[in-house]
Amino acid sequence: MMKKITSNLVSWLDERFDLTPIRNLLLHKKVPIHKHSLWYYLGGVTLFLFFIQLVTGILLLLYYKPGEDSAYESVRFIVTEVKFGWLIRNVHSWSANLLIFFAFLHMFSVFFTQSYKKPRELTWITGFVILALALAFGFSGYLLPWNELAFFATKVGTDIIGILPVVGEKLRVILRGGEDVTGATLSRFFGIHVAILPAIFTFFLVLHLLFIQRQGMHEPEHFKNLPEDKKKYIPFFPDFALRDALLWLIVFNVIIFLALYFPWELGNKADPFASAPSGIKPEWYFLFMFQTLKFLPAHILFIDGELLGVLAFGLAGLLWMLIPFIKLKEKPNWKIQPITIVGILVVSFIVVMTILGYLL
């Protein structure tokens, strides 16, 4: 009975929309099995976390009221009065952090397996854009509860943008909605966080996923060189999808655990006429940049140290995005290829700076 209805429905749709691509995806997509297969799951986890953000974000939107006099109070209302409001908020915050964490992991795994190479250049670039947008999500969302830490983090963050030559000043005013961080800034960040970013993000995410479906799974060098009969695959559907689902379930439980036992603090309401609290730090994913800027002297030759740092990070980001088009000569007798060394240096830089950021 069920089977009959389903097959009728499928053929009804098929007649109208030609389901061949979807059928191909479900029936023929396969996933190579080798010692690095583990890395294939990271993108999926990130996607799952994005869905969690979407759902919890929409839920929070039902009670959240942007505005200097209402934002903090509405978040407090959510976490104290609304049934399970605290849970929704904690999940939203935790999942946001995990999302960025997994997006970074995903990016580095793609980097080290060199999956960004031809024909996946655009997949890499869209992925990079998505990560940048995720950071923007984090930055804009951080201000919305309108608490002390968020207030000063936003002051500092937007001020750093203001250092940029030519466009900096204008950009800072546009972001802040005025000279200072005020209720106007909050309104803008709210708009950015719930309307502008989701729209752009969805566009790039769809592109990214489309590219991946068109290109299929990347096969690393050592796997590609195997004789045909030595190559092992599992079908994407249902085998890989089920494993994906299992992992999503695990991640979901981890989030719930974190949300239950490590609630996100609301802190004190922002007061533009109060001293910055001690021990203020940006979120961990900005910490490495923040720490680097701190290490730079105020002036390097004639240039402002901070400006130089910001520009250097901008340039590094650009190069990183264009990695698929940069050819580093391979050294046949080197154990570790130059490109891998670059990757290792980048990762160690980020890790070391982040740790220092916590310790200092």
Partner: protein, 143 residues
């Protein structure tokens, strides 16, 4: 170079295309820049009684829309300085133990005259004048 009909039309078309985009983006961009709100000119504020203010303590006061830090030193002198850190705009505080002005954001330190002594702040804090008129503290912008 001869300009034939086709080329001419192409140029015309692209120029009007550019103009069209400009006509769309210019207003949007201008819209994004908030209008200047005329700030009520504040020249002085009264912040309460001088004798009630304990020695070796501080208070952040509103000077129009700007925060100003008012400090009463151990000796009982009043100092008023802009409270906005010259580094990245956090609001500073007075450390009663070291008798210095401290910015928590990146550990910037100023002396009681607002001079940046250590940490990232590039410039001193702007000083304000403090007068005591009939035991009332009055802060005025200097100069």
């Amino acid at each position: 170079m001869t300009l034939n009909r086709k080329k001419f039309l192409n140029i015309l078309l692209s120029l009007s295309g550019i103009a069209g985009l400009g006509a769309i983006f210019y207003p949007i961009f201008s819209y994004l820049i908030p209008p200047k709100i005329s700030e009520p000119k504040v020249n002085s504020v009264k912040v309460g009684s001088a004798s009630d203010f304990p020695n070796n303590s501080y208070k952040i006061v509103k000077f129009g829309r700007k925060p100003v830090i008012l400090i009463k030193t151990v000796e009982g002198d009043f100092k008023a300085l802009s409270a906005t850190c010259t580094h990245l705009e956090c609001i500073v505080q007075y450390k009663s133990d070291t008798h210095q002005i401290w910015c928590a954001c990146h550990n910037g330190i100023y002396d009681l005259n607002g001079r940046n002594v250590s940490g990232p702040p590039p410039r001193p804090l702007t000083p304000y004048d403090v007068k005591i008129i009939n035991d009332e503290i009055v802060i005025t912008s200097a100069g």
